[in-house]
Symmetry: C2
Subunit: 505 residues, 2 copies
């Protein structure tokens, strides 16, 4: 009887299964402060800022008066602040990125000093930007008065994190990863170096003993500044990344940039369609490198003259006389839309996260030329999955490039593996932009996400690893052992003495 009643209850219940709970008050809106970083970080942050604005939230983006990519949008307002540098300085710094491509020809010492000087200039610039915002009392006071619900920011430079802390606002971080395992430290996320490769090691999740030694040595742990982040929007997923532990406040939004698709302009569409059965090759070295040294460019032009595909190349450098007919040079490339086109056969990329995920999303095999930062690790992950070929920008020749392109285009295993990877990447219960917006709104609605914050943050190193407990238990074992030994010794002695006495008697 009981069982029948239960079954009936359950069967009835499924008539109404569609009526799920509505967790959000309809029409609820709040206000969001966005403190972005210049460069490719902006892409994902801007996508969320725009979408939040489109949904009716009041979105304020705080940007320096001078920047490379940061700028106004359709659905948010910007608030600029003065900085002590000019656009020219930014452009000069950016031009230095091109130097990476020729640095092999420089003597080692000069190469190192160039790198250090570039790095120092970059850090100085970031410091100047941060100080210009954080010490701008008028602006900070203005922002305080706005009564924001949350801050969305890139934590790679902790300006936004610091501002959120000052304004006592919950923070949503968006990032790919932080160097030195700082992201793991700041989220209290376990990060065993035995199978989680460290950045810049080019290790995979299956490591030899030698590789694991390197991995452990890279395991530096610094700073605690970022622990207060409420939600971490991580620009990766496990189609590219090696599987590893996550914390409850981590949300994976890899490929957030792929969902935004537009038709190509008529001119570009015609050029693409004209490629016939051979299709097109898309070539871009990312938002920070649009040019290259002349002798490098010559290699690419030569190689492109030798392939049947048409090539669309983001290139702002010097244009030679003999540009092959199948090459179209563009100042800005609608990269995602081109990769999404059925004619796309290969993607030549520097291996930045955005480009890599656009390639995965649309299933286009890659020839990869890593330049700096996490690109070396990204391309290694792709190569280990058999969906692309890695070349060195320093040693590249027209022949190696043509061979690599022919391999990824004509060896069908690359396309097949890429399509499998693409199917897995695209098969997610919720699109990453939706997810990023949802969790940003969550932080605004609940003034943070305290229920996702692990108690590990309140433990010191000894406690976290239970070393105090283990020490205590060892101490007990030691005491018990010593006491037992002592007892045994005493008993033994007494026995001996008795035996001796008896003998003597």
């Amino acid at each position: 009887m009981k069982r029948v009643a239960f079954v009936r209850c359950f069967m009835l219940s499924f008539a109404a299964v569609g009526a799920t709970i509505q967790p959000r008050e309809p029409g609820w809106t709040g206000s969001l402060l966005v403190v972005p970083m210049d460069g490719s970080h902006w892409t994902g942050v801007k996508a969320v800022a725009e979408e939040m604005g489109r949904r009716g939230h009041k979105v304020t983006v705080v940007i320096p008066e001078v920047s490379v990519l940061l700028g106004p949008g359709k659905h948010y307002t910007t608030r600029t602040f003065p900085v002590p540098y000019r656009k020219q300085q930014l452009d000069e710094l950016q031009a230095r990125n091109v130097e990476v491509m020729e640095s092999k020809q420089l003597p080692l010492l000069e190469k190192i000093s160039t790198r250090i000087s570039s790095m120092r200039k970059f850090v100085e610039l970031q410091r100047a930007t941060a100080e210009s915002l954080l010490f701008n009392q008028e602006l900070v006071d203005f922002l305080r008065k706005q009564d924001f619900d949350a801050v969305l920011t890139s934590p790679a430079v902790p300006t936004g994190a610091t501002l959120a802390y000052n304004l006592s606002l919950p923070a949503v971080y968006m990032l790919r990863a932080l160097p030195c395992g700082l992201d793991s430290t700041a989220t209290a996320c376990p990060n065993p170096p035995s199978y989680i490769p460290r950045f810049f090691t080019h290790n995979s999740d299956r490591m030899s003993f030698r590789q694991r030694v390197l991995n452990v040595l890279r395991d530096v742990r610094v700073a605690e500044v970022l622990r207060s982040g409420a939600i971490w929007l991580l620009r990766y997923d496990f189609s590219l990344e090696f599987p590893k532990p996550l914390m409850p406040n981590m949300v994976l939004i890899g490929g957030i940039n792929c969902a935004v698709k537009n038709p190509l302009t008529k001119e570009v569409e015609e050029f693409v369609k004209g490629s016939g059965e051979h299709g097109i090759v898309v070539f871009s070295l990312g938002s920070l490198v649009s040019s290259m040294p002349k002798e490098k460019a010559t290699i690419f032009f030569k190689a492109f003259g030798m392939i049947p595909q048409r090539v669309l190349w983001r290139y702002t450098g010097e244009i030679p006389d003999n540009v092959p007919e199948n090459v179209k040079l563009m100042k800005w490339l609608p990269q995602n839309d081109l990769l999404g086109h059925s004619k796309a056969k290969a993607f030549i990329t520097h291996g930045g996260t955005h480009g890599i995920y656009e390639g995965i999303c649309h299933g286009v095999p890659m020839v990869m030329l890593p330049l700096f930062g996490d690109q070396g690790d990204n391309v290694h992950r792709m190569a280990s999955r058999g969906v692309g070929v890695v070349l060195s920008i320093h040693d590249i020749t027209a022949e190696t490039l043509v061979n690599a392109l022919n391999t990824v285009i004509n060896d069908s295993s690359y396309k097949q593996k890429m399509e499998k990877l693409s199917a897995i990447h695209n098969d997610r219960p919720m699109q990453p932009l939706e997810l990023a917006v949802y969790w940003t709104e969550f932080v605004m609605r609940h003034k943070g996400a305290d229920h996702l914050r692990p108690a590990a943050h309140e433990l010191n190193w000894l406690q976290y690893h239970s070393l105090d407990v283990i020490g205590f238990l060892l101490l007990i074992v030691l005491i018990v052992t010593l006491a037992t030994l002592k007892c045994c010794t005493l008993c033994w002695r007494r026995c001996c003495r008795k035996a001796q006495k008896r003998k003597e008697d």
Copy 2:
């Protein structure tokens, strides 16, 4: 120019932001094998089986001919197998659950022997069920021929997991947790005992040194059978659970049973409405305990006679003459629907996961009477959040029960905290049933979820903790130190000798 182009590109792009990627082939269906466990585990598994069937998948549920709750459904077919026990034996075993309520009055030795004998009977029964399925060659052959895409099962008894392994099918597990940290071991999920409380310790995530010692001692690790699971559907979320690391193949579906709502029958609805401003109290001790010893029941009847609320009680025991007018006894309680009613003021529960999440979902404060299993830990989590009061079924009196009910109903802090908890629990990007169905389909589509499987599974204990690497590095340090010391000693001796010689000269 570049920047303007970029900004324009981006602004344009948002016109089409609605057009997200469609990852699933429309109309795709597959076939799913379900191997459930009897008891409360069935609730969640059945919900997914029904919903999968409703969506057009071929769902086959394999159940023993005799069971407590398992049975047919609207959207799936069942396949039964004979077992060497009868319904009567199951009922007897179930009746033993009631004995827990009086076990305090028994002498200690008898109490322990009763528990062991119950446990042994339970294990024997599970073994008999497992063998009846796994050694039923005809049935196994039949299932093999069905060409299923995946298996959905409760891994608490690994019958389904073993069957999946035998049939070489990817498995989706649904569970609350496994004892002895087995779930963490089988998923290679970090599980530091410093802040993650072990089951049956009643610890929270903030532990004193004494509690942490207990926690470490509970940290037994056994068996590797379950490592092959593709997806782990976990029946919890962080509104109740303390935040801790997750692995990529873990999907949180706590509260999967709350979404299914139905109108009350007319009779029940009238009884509920008739409660006026005082509202109702919902009382159930779960699917396995519907009765109680007479002297306990008397306490409850007495207490209910002293409160102004109306009480709906799932009770199949002996009915006394003087049942108070405000009490309605029912053989089966539409628990979730009653808790979802606006008149629900309090929930008296044993603290099973399903009931707890239904209470959280609908924001009803609780009086909790844990009986066995994970119930003690569940109620402790609730009490630590200030949303309920824990009583012991052994010491309970009419007065303590009335006091507890008055506290959770009239002290507004309980209701307020419960509503906050409820808001957080219900504020999720996707409802748990949707999520469970999505990932079950994912495993069917991709024949597993290998991209979510961490490389940690392939490491031994020494490697996982990098102890080999640390040993190697220590060895190097030792060698370098010894070599340096040796050099210094040699130099020192030579110097001394020279000085001696000079003196002698």
